[in-house]
């Protein structure tokens, strides 16, 4: 088994590659990177991929199948390589051991199975019945996203701006400063809570989160129990020196009984690297089953397997049910309006059923119009993206949020599709408009309108005043953002659709000019 020592360095290289990749995609605040890079890294995420598959079937959304097959082959490889939170936890554990304080040796710990499987049951229950809030709060990728977009990103922006200042002082303008947008308390504290929680858990046991709270870890752990390759101790050559037990981040090696709890093993291969006798390593467990099979409760195991399978196909079933609710509120008032959901999110319902709140769309939105919701979508919709027209407006030519969404909560749209997607419709309150109230020219709304759904028509005293054509409005919010009126609210604003509609294409006639040889002056 000696030759298996190559596994640990390979694992470390792959995991660093993925962590760096995730840091990169969450740093891309001006959407400069091709969306494919983002899709590559997120496509290996188990739960997002399961959610995405029914929405956008294809290779890129089949990552969960790869993870399942990989887990059935060689255990929880996912947890030590592709999972950004798992790798972050490893990095924190690494730092912990560098601390100049006396630390306890790691030893075998009993699994906290009641908590682990209760949480898994809760997660599955949530997927079926209560929307996916519970999963949002538990999923490792979503939690990593929360840390990355709310804690790491401000740090990145500050560093970028300091570097930019330094360069500008040398007359180099190649690094452009970035604007740090409004402080959003809820997402910040959510990110902070997750991060501190992870640190505390790492302090107790390196992979406590992964083996107790993480529903993905629990599922893959169950798959690992029947995997082809498992980490096993060779009873005949093992000297019970205990080095592997000390090296085990998951506290799952029981050296007294020469057993490895495969459901908790995260395939970090530390044990293989420390074993001088080459007595621990991957072993084929399917062919000589009788030797290895302990007295396990196969009935229980099958039940779990069935549940797993059910979990995998559940979103497909949920999609098939269909959920069309009409949302017409052309005459509703500003004060009663709900949140505007991103272009490609189909409907608020679709968003709430598919979004895990990782914040990637919010991170990459170049105009910063996407902001995390507080209670706008209701309690179960916290942290979901919504358009905040006070901060920005949706760039007509941009389709970034749908391109990077790892779950298909925001479907990828082509630019022509996006330009005909109506997230809401324009409402004009003439009584509030500057042109009427002050009698002076403005037109800021019409100026910003990409389809001229807001256009200026003659008004008294040579003035022009806005008029609206809601049919060609896409609900981008440019008019609302640009309107100089703020009290009590903009004179022109977007009223959201609960279910997005199709906008009509704007038509304009080709201008004709007669060319003259003479100068007109």
């Amino acid at each position: 088994m000696n030759r298996q020592t190559f596994l640990r360095p390979v694992r470390i290289i792959v995991s660093i590659f993925f962590l760096v990749g995730f840091i990169l995609i969450f740093s891309d605040v001006k959407a400069k990177l091709p969306s494919g890079i983002s899709l590559f890294f997120t496509s290996f995420q188990f739960l997002p991929s399961i959610l995405k598959f029914p929405n956008v079937p294809g290779i890129i959304s089949s990552g969960f199948i790869f993870i399942i097959v990989l887990s059935l082959f060689s255990g929880r490889i996912y947890c030590s390589t592709f999972c950004p939170l798992g790798v972050l936890i490893d990095a924190l554990g690494f730092l912990k051991r560098k601390l100049p304080v006396k630390q306890k040796r790691r030893k075998y710990k009993k699994p906290l199975n009641i908590i682990r499987y209760s949480i898994l049951a809760l997660a599955i229950f949530s997927l079926f019945f209560t929307g996916i809030l519970a999963i949002n709060l538990l999923d490792p990728y979503a939690n990593f996203g929360r840390i990355a977009s709310n804690l790491y990103q401000p740090v990145f922006i500050v560093m970028n701006n300091l570097l930019s200042k330094l360069f500008v002082s040398m007359n180099i303008y190649s690094i452009q400063p970035l604007v740090f947008n409004v402080f959003q308390a809820l997402p910040f504290y959510a990110g902070l809570t997750v991060f501190l929680g992870i640190i505390v858990m790492v302090f107790f046991r390196d992979r406590l989160y992964c083996n107790t709270i993480c529903p993905v870890g629990a599922i893959l752990g169950l798959l690992s129990k029947i995997s082809f390759l498992k980490i096993k101790i060779n009873n005949s050559s093992c000297t019970q020196c205990g080095k592997c037990q000390i090296a085990c981040k998951a506290n799952c090696i029981n050296i007294k009984e020469l057993k490895v709890d495969t459901s908790r093993c995260v395939s970090c291969f530390n044990c293989i690297s420390v074993c001088e006798e080459s007595s621990i390593g991957y072993k084929n467990t399917w062919i000589r089953k009788s030797e290895i099979q302990e007295k396990t409760d196969t009935a229980k195991r099958n039940l779990i397997k069935a549940g797993l399978l059910f979990l995998g196909i559940n979103p497909l079933l949920a999609k098939a049910e269909g959920e069309d609710k009409e949302g017409g509120h052309g005459t509703k008032r500003f004060s009663t309006r709900g949140p505007i959901s991103p272009p490609g999110s189909v409907s608020i319902d679709h968003l709430k059923k598919n979004c895990i709140g990782c914040g990637l769309c919010i991170s990459v939105c170049p105009s910063d119009v996407l902001q995390p919701a507080f209670l706008e979508y209701g309690f179960t919709g916290m942290m979901l993206p919504r358009l905040d027209n006070k901060i920005g407006f949706c760039n007509f030519e941009c389709t970034k949020c749908g391109e990077v969404c790892p779950t298909g909560a925001i479907l990828p749209l082509t630019i022509p599709e996006k330009k005909l997607t109506q997230m809401g419709i324009v409402q004009f309150r003439q009584g509030l408009c500057i042109v009427e109230s002050e009698g002076t020219a403005c037109g800021s709304c019409s100026e910003h309108c990409p389809t001229q759904a807001v256009y200026m028509v003659p008004y008294r005293d040579d003035l022009t005043i806005p008029e609206v054509d809601p049919d060609i409005c896409v609900g981008c919010g440019a008019c609302e953002h640009a309107c100089p009126v703020i009290d009590p609210h903009a004179a022109i604003y977007v009223f959201p659709h609960e279910v997005h509609q199709a906008a009509k294409e704007p038509v304009s006639e080709k201008v004709e000019v007669e060319s003259t040889e003479e100068f007109p002056f």
Binding site: G443, E447, T464
Partner: protein, 306 residues
């Protein structure tokens, strides 16, 4: 502690010198005003591509050396307001901007910076307008206009409504200011030409819209006259401006107007566009404030047809 003190002192000193330095330049800027040695008050060029029209126009004014002295810093302010490609003419023609940068560098400019306070998201505007590439290719540097901290409070002594605002520091610090608007229709301000283009160097545009747009545009025109205005009338957005909906809004007119007088340039541009100058209120108000003249007959105009 000694080292810390040293650092602290040197930082303070450099900040102080920096401030003095920029103040000094600012004062000379304000004093210099419009160069009186130009051979013409205005040059109008037609029927060429943006590059050749500019080459001929600037040559008629005695070359860029009449505006940019070796070692000076130049700021070029095109219209880059929208995430829109060149053929839609919502932004200044990128080839024209690139050519202006090229002439400035050739005249010995120490640095040429280009910026706009965009309406759409700025990185997309810079890129998709083609201006970023054109500027870089010709040796200039793009600077963001999206950072509020870069805008410095100024007083507009001749302003009627707009008496103070915040202006981008590049306008205050650069030796030479070249204003490069694109000629287009504008829903709110009727026309967007040289004076309307200056809304892209101030931070708070909302104030303008709230407090009589035309008066504010004219007020701000009294603050700092550009050393040169180059009006891009190559592709002209005739309707649905300033953003436009499609290429249907655009006519190929192939004009270029160069002048140091914003009121005169705007007057000539309205005539090219085919609208009564009086319809564009801020032009008349600015003339009343002494920014320039709408009486083109009083000016020495060079007309070039290619």
């Amino acid at each position: 502690m000694k080292r810390r003190d040293f650092i602290r002192r040197s930082v303070t000193a450099s900040v102080a010198t920096g401030t003095l330095f920029s103040m000094g330049k600012w004062n000379t800027l304000l004093a210099s005003g419009i160069s009186s040695e130009l051979p013409f008050d205005m040059v109008a060029v037609k029927n060429g591509n943006p590059i050749e029209m500019f080459d001929m126009g600037i040559a008629a004014l005695g070359g860029m050396k009449n505006f940019v002295k070796p070692g000076q810093s130049v700021v070029v302010k095109p219209n880059i307001g929208w995430d829109s490609p060149p053929e839609r003419a919502a932004n200044t023609n990128p080839e024209l901007v690139g050519q202006i940068v090229k002439h400035c560098i050739a005249a010995g400019a120490k640095k040429v910076t280009v910026f706009d306070r965009t309406c759409d998201e700025w990185t997309r505007c810079y890129k998709n307008s083609g201006i970023e590439q054109a500027v870089k290719d010709n040796g200039g540097q793009m600077v963001t206009g999206a950072i509020e901290a870069d805008y410095m409070p100024v007083k507009i002594s001749k302003g009627v409504t707009l008496k103070e605002t915040k202006v981008h520091k590049l306008i205050l610090e650069s030796d030479v200011f070249i204003n490069v608007p694109v000629l287009k229709n504008h829903g709110g301000a009727q026309m967007s030409i040289t004076m309307k283009n200056l809304m892209g160097i101030v931070w708070d545009r909302r104030f303008y819209h709230k407090n009589d747009l035309h008066q504010c545009i004219a007020d701000f025109a009294t603050f700092r006259n550009p050393d040169l205005n180059v009006v891009d009338g190559y592709r002209v957005m005739k309707q649905n401006g300033p953003r436009g909906v499609s290429v249907n809004d655009v006519a190929l007119m192939k004009y270029l107007i160069l002048s140091a007088d914003m009121v005169a340039a705007d007057t000539a541009a309205t005539k090219v566009f085919g609208i009564e100058t009086a319809m564009v209120k801020h032009i008349g108000i600015a003339e009343g404030l002494g920014v320039g003249t709408t009486n083109l007959e009083s000016l020495n105009i060079k007309r070039i047809s290619i």
